[in-house]
């Protein structure tokens, strides 16, 4: 494969941020198909349009997902990227790796693929970009046999679940996000590899309402950690924050780069509390926990003084998606609090997941995310499917129109009436 001139891409080797162009050029020394990738990309920069053909159905035997077909529309110019399929590799929960595993993955990818990766894709998988059709099975065989490593999801199936790093390195995690993510991924391997849904379905597990995996914005089934008792307060630490002790920087030091003046607990914590449920009583911080909505702001600002409560679990919110097609949706609160624990194999989650799937697989239209199905049938109908009593927590406010879909059994006498009898009393 010839080296192609890349005057436009060369401009992307300038500047302080690490350059993917430099990386690809270096890799091209041992993986010459990277020259063709650069060549085709240079052509896209010149033409200002993609040079990848639409789709292409390829995969490994027995799976309907995990591989995304990709073909160049200029294989005459760039034969090295004629086939350039994506393999999605199911990442470990929390994206920790041993270098032994990473190196072994890279050795296989250098052998069978282009040597180009994404660490990681938007949904969470390790992405391997650029495999020829005939190498897919070879890569898959060695990966499963040598590294005990499977593919992730693509298409209308369960997409690769992902989680925040949770309890592994965060003091705010309200349940073990990694264990939940791993256990459910294993439990639903069939749903992940063999598309049988109306459209994609995503789980995401965030340990607290800061929601570092964007569960509330990006997934169909969001499990977001929370607690139901009181925020734990260390009053001695509160005093240290108030005294501007350097070991107690506000917001865990996140604002260290600029002089914002002395830390002021009234202005920075109490006044910014969305429910105004905090106050100082002398030098003691008092929280009216019954009024707290657990937004995390006070805990974020004073992590050494405040901690989530001890009775922890999660809130389940359902139906988030990006705008395609009916517009963007955040996930809607469905289950206010549920215990999330390995002791019952996460039954608190699977019970709801399977209820949704049973229903959505029947009523969901082609390419309709569950959030759109919910919109189409309405929240009251969805709650019935979930066998959940309607709560004021399910809405921001009550409806402001009176157009209620009354059921016949709710109205005394039902709906059957006799117009002849009616007209005897009410002339037309």
């Amino acid at each position: 494969m010839a080296k192609h001139p890349t005057p436009l891409l060369d401009e992307l080797e300038k500047g302080p941020w690490p350059s993917f162009v430099t990386a690809l050029k270096k890799q091209a020394e041992t993986k010459p198909e990277c020259w063709d990738l650069l060549g085709q990309l240079e052509l896209s920069y010149k033409d200002r349009i993609t040079h990848w053909k639409h789709g292409g159905i390829v995969g490994v035997f027995g799976y309907g997902g995990g591989v995304v077909g990709r073909y160049s529309d200029r294989p005459d110019l760039f034969p090295g990227v004629e086939h350039f399929h994506t393999m999605r590799i199911n990442q470990p929960s929390g994206m920790y790796y041993t270098t032994k595993h990473l190196r072994a993955m890279m050795d296989l990818w250098e052998k069978y693929g282009s040597g180009v990766t994404n660490m990681h894709g938007s949904t969470g998988d390790m992405i391997l970009l650029g495999c020829r059709t005939e190498s897919l099975e070879l890569m898959f065989y060695d990966m499963t046999h040598q590294l005990d490593q499977d593919l992730g999801g693509s298409g209308s199936n369960l997409r690769t679940p992902s989680c925040c790093l949770g309890e592994s390195r965060c003091e705010w995690a309200c349940y073990d996000t990694q264990e939940a993510c791993y256990t459910l991924t294993q439990q639903y391997q069939d749903e992940l590899h063999r598309p049988a849904f109306p459209y994609k379905f995503k789980f995401k597990f965030s340990g607290c309402p800061n929601d570092c995996v964007a569960a509330i914005a990006r997934c169909d089934f969001a499990v977001i950690g929370t607690w139901k008792d009181e925020i734990r307060i260390d009053q001695e630490a509160v005093k240290k924050y108030i005294a501007n002790d350097p070991a107690f920087p506000s917001n865990a030091g996140a604002h260290k780069g600029r002089d914002w003046g002395k830390f002021d607990i009234q202005k920075e914590v109490i006044d910014l509390c969305p429910t105004h449920c905090m106050k100082m009583d002398g030098d003691k911080l008092v929280i009216d926990n019954a009024e707290c909505t657990r937004c995390m702001h006070c805990i974020n600002v004073m992590p050494r003084a405040l901690r989530p409560g001890l009775e922890k679990g999660a809130t389940i919110s359902i139906g988030a998606k990006a705008p395609i097609l009916e517009g963007a949706q955040f996930a809607t609160l469905v289950v206010p609090f549920v215990k999330v624990t390995k002791e019952d194999d996460f039954a608190g989650l699977t019970e709801y997941i399977e209820k949704i799937w049973d229903w959505w697989m029947e009523v969901g239209k082609n390419r309709e995310r569950v959030g759109e199905t919910m919109q189409r049938v309405g929240l009251p109908t969805f709650l019935k499917v979930m066998e959940i009593e309607p709560l004021p927590q399910h809405v921001k406010e009550p409806r402001s129109n009176p157009y209620i879909f009354w059921r016949e059994d709710e109205v005394p006498g039902g709906w059957e009436r006799d117009i002849v009898e009616f007209r005897k009393r009410h002339a037309a």
Binding site: W17, K26, M95
Partner: protein, 379 residues
């Protein structure tokens, strides 16, 4: 042994899932899992987490272009082998995190990272601009309206000072999605770059038979702009579709379903800028990003218009917002009319919603601020 193409099902292994995360945790992480007490950002890019036991883990966070090669990943492994006992992790924003179990190991780690030139910029913590979450673009996608890695590179080059410092009112999350499918889920970001099309799909009647399920292509249009049609191809009448261009909102959903309806175009495609979204529940509820610049051209290779607009937004926000205020919280406090006035971005009808639920965004009160926009009425 290995894969046998003549017997593909021989000793096949499937449905084994990902590797167990517990096997990949550094010892200090494993020992203190679920028992962390608090954390502190010691300096930009360096975190300290303290456990109930008194154990500490120190993390050095580095940016990356996300698009990496096996050589890059081996470089990462070399650093992790040298300093981190062979463990490393990645963040959801494509940063690389190197962890050590004592503070005196940080300097050596940082010195090693420096030997790789600009490959491992340290930062992305606290009130900074962390790495940009993004999609594939022209590098690997078949439906993009712009590139991804290129615009990300030039924006991060320009905002580099904010990656390695913590001077902003709050963290600013930037994301890029190269088409309206939004694999990059930019709909809840402080600043979003979104690839958009502006020309309706062409119909490739030579190709449509055989590659396209017509009813699916028709059903794919949320506005009913795709209708059944007939066409003559080499003297034969074929079934095809037609597009009512006036109803097209250029979402590209039809092309996803039907390869014979391409809509990408050098002049038609470009980048829209949306701002003010957030995911976290902290203080205010999660918010969607709002469209403030409807179109900027794909001016390769360095998208100067995009870079300029984003810098303008960041600098106005940095100067004007209060401590802890996310970009969207700031815009809501001052009012969106003030956002446009202060940033100097022109307000156009394109920022007025006319899709589903549009009415929810119309002003239905007399609460507004006078800005330069109202001069024609007040001056």
């Amino acid at each position: 042994m290995g894969y046998d193409p003549n017997n593909p099902m021989a000793d096949r292994i499937s449905d084994i899932g990902p590797r167990y995360f517990g096997d990949f945790l550094p010892p200090v992480i494993k020992e203190n899992k679920g028992k962390w007490l608090y954390h502190e950002i010691l300096e930009p890019g360096v975190l300290m987490h303290v456990a109930e036991s008194g154990a500490k883990v120190f993390t050095v966070r580095c940016g990356s272009p996300r698009l990496l090669t096996v050589t890059n990943v081996r470089d990462i492994c070399d650093v992790a082998d040298k300093h981190c006992d062979g463990y490393v992790r990645f963040t959801t924003r494509n940063n690389v995190e190197f962890m050590v179990d004592s503070q005196d190991k940080i300097d050596g780690l940082k010195a090693t990272l420096k030997t790789y030139g600009n490959q491992f910029p340290i930062g992305g913590t606290g009130a900074s601009i962390s790495n940009i979450v993004h999609t594939q673009g022209w590098v690997h996608c078949h439906t993009p309206a712009t590139d991804a890695s290129g615009p990300v590179k030039v924006v991060m080059d320009d905002l580099f000072e904010y990656f390695g410092s913590m001077t902003l009112p709050a963290h600013v999350r930037i994301a890029l999605a190269c088409c309206l499918n939004m694999c990059g889920a930019v709909h809840a970001s402080d600043i979003a770059m979104l690839g958009i099309h502006r020309k309706p799909p062409m119909i490739d009647n030579e190709r449509i038979t055989g590659v396209c399920e017509l009813p699916l292509a028709i059903a794919a249009c949320p506005l009913g702009a795709v209708k059944p049609d007939k066409a003559e191809v080499r003297g034969e009448t074929i079934k095809t579709v037609k597009v009512n261009a006036e109803r097209c909102m250029f979402c590209g959903n039809c092309y996803t379903m039907c390869p014979a309806m391409p809509l990408a175009d050098p002049e038609g495609d470009g980048i829209a800028i949306l701002v003010g979204g957030k995911v976290s529940n902290s203080k205010s509820e999660p918010k969607f990003s709002k469209l403030v610049v409807p179109f900027l051209p794909n001016n390769t290779p360095r998208w100067p218009e995009v870079v300029e607009v984003i810098r303008k937004i960041v600098e106005t926000y940095a100067k004007d917002a209060r401590k802890y205020e996310r970009l969207g919280e700031w815009a809501e406090r001052i009012g969106w009319e003030k956002f446009f006035e202060k940033t100097g971005l022109p307000f156009t009808e394109k920022s007025i919603d006319d899709y589903r639920l549009a009415y929810n965004t119309w002003r239905t009160s007399t609460h507004f601020k006078y800005t330069t926009h109202t001069d024609a009425y007040t001056k």
